[in-house]
Amino acid sequence: MIPAQFDYVRATSAEHALQLLGEHGDDAKLLAGGHSLLPMMKLRLAMPSVLIDIAGLPDLSGVRRDGDDVVIGALTKHGELAASEILEREAPLVAHAAGLVGDPQIRHRGTIGGSLAHADPAADLPSALLASDGWLELQGPEGTRRVAVDDFFTGYFETVLQPDELVVAIGTPRRMGAGWGYEKFTRRANDWGIVTVATVGGRVALGNMGPTSLRARATEQALARGASIPDAAELAAEGTEPVTDLHADGEYRSHLARVLTRRALTRAAG
């Protein structure tokens, strides 16, 4: 499968990328690792007329501490997240989830900024960052703004990211020693999760239980009231409308959400 024709431009800085986005508008797409975009272009589900390659931008890669947060450059690859000693110590949920994305080859190319901007509700990192109470730094022509992951996803593959904006960094509170859990149910190696559950610090995020990664609010509230893990986990699917597809029907997904939430919370408490 061969993508439709496009022009290819290499950005030399974040400002240059923004300028190119401004010139080409909706016809342009940013290319980092390309592991969400290129498969869509090969299927002609996406046919941008211009690709702006940001993979070589300096300063947008790597993991560092900044006050109470860990800050991750948007171009940091999944494999680098999984191997990061800072994340391993201070945001292990994110490192663990990154290590489960796709397979080693995919983790050598795919980036955290790309995964969040792509906003696949079944992807690992959106739920991990949602449970972590993370945030994104978006740079646009008017400057930068910070958006909580809670407010970032708006629908299937849709976010508040504007066509003239660029994800430059992702942050998560430092949580040294905090219990966490991540459960991913798949039928085959390197599949997307049929349902995923991420939890840390009393927050619980569900993957593939709706059009976006979403919080299991009823479970969180029950935990806050002092409910037991089994009782709280029973509420995990409340308020969700999971889809039926060839992998699982909605009822089965709800069952998985309850079981995986119990496992994730038990692991976090252990």
Binding site: M1, A4, Q5, Y8, G34, H35, L38, K42, D103, Q105
Partner: protein
């Protein structure tokens, strides 16, 4: 667009369309046919090559993304004084192939994997090769071959 790519240690300069996939560049422009197009959807790993020493699926990389970088295919594996690279020799010794279609990708994924984890457990081998499918389902001997290669290195 002109790209400068070092392929199997030889610098090349070629004029390519931006949409040309790396696997097609290797097969059709460089005439290197080891990397196969299998699923063409980033799943099967038959097109695995090394990009700056790291395994990637060349059906999901644009040639222009490899500009200024180095690519290694199975043709570029160097056995030194021996006929075969140690990983290739291990696949032969353990009969780590049946029809052979997945083999170049398996071998390149293994070379990349062992460079990151030179002394893996069997479970780590299975996880490390999860991006490569053998539709003959000959996985047991492939895993043996990888462990053999790790021991003989």
């Amino acid at each position: 667009m002109r790209v400068n790519i070092t392929v199997n240690d030889e610098p090349r300069s070629d004029e390519v369309e931006p949409r040309l996939l790396l696997v097609h560049y290797l097969r059709e422009v460089c005439d290197l046919r080891a990397a196969n197009v299998g699923c063409d959807t980033t799943s099967c790993g038959a097109c695995t090559v090394l990009l700056d020493g790291k395994s990637v699926k060349s059906c999901t990389v644009l040639t222009v993304q490899a500009d200024g970088h180095s690519v290694t295919t199975a043709e570029g594996l160097d056995g030194g004084a021996e006929e075969l690279h140690p990983v290739q020799a291990a696949f032969r010794a353990e009969h780590g192939l049946q029809c052979g279609f997945c083999t170049p990708g398996m071998v390149m994924a293994t070379v990349g994997f062992l460079s990151e984890n030179p002394h893996p457990t069997e479970e780590e081998v299975r996880e490390g090769l999860e991006g490569n499918f053998c539709r003959c389902t000959g996985y047991h001997n492939i895993v043996r071959a990888v462990l053999h290669a790790a021991e003989s290195a």
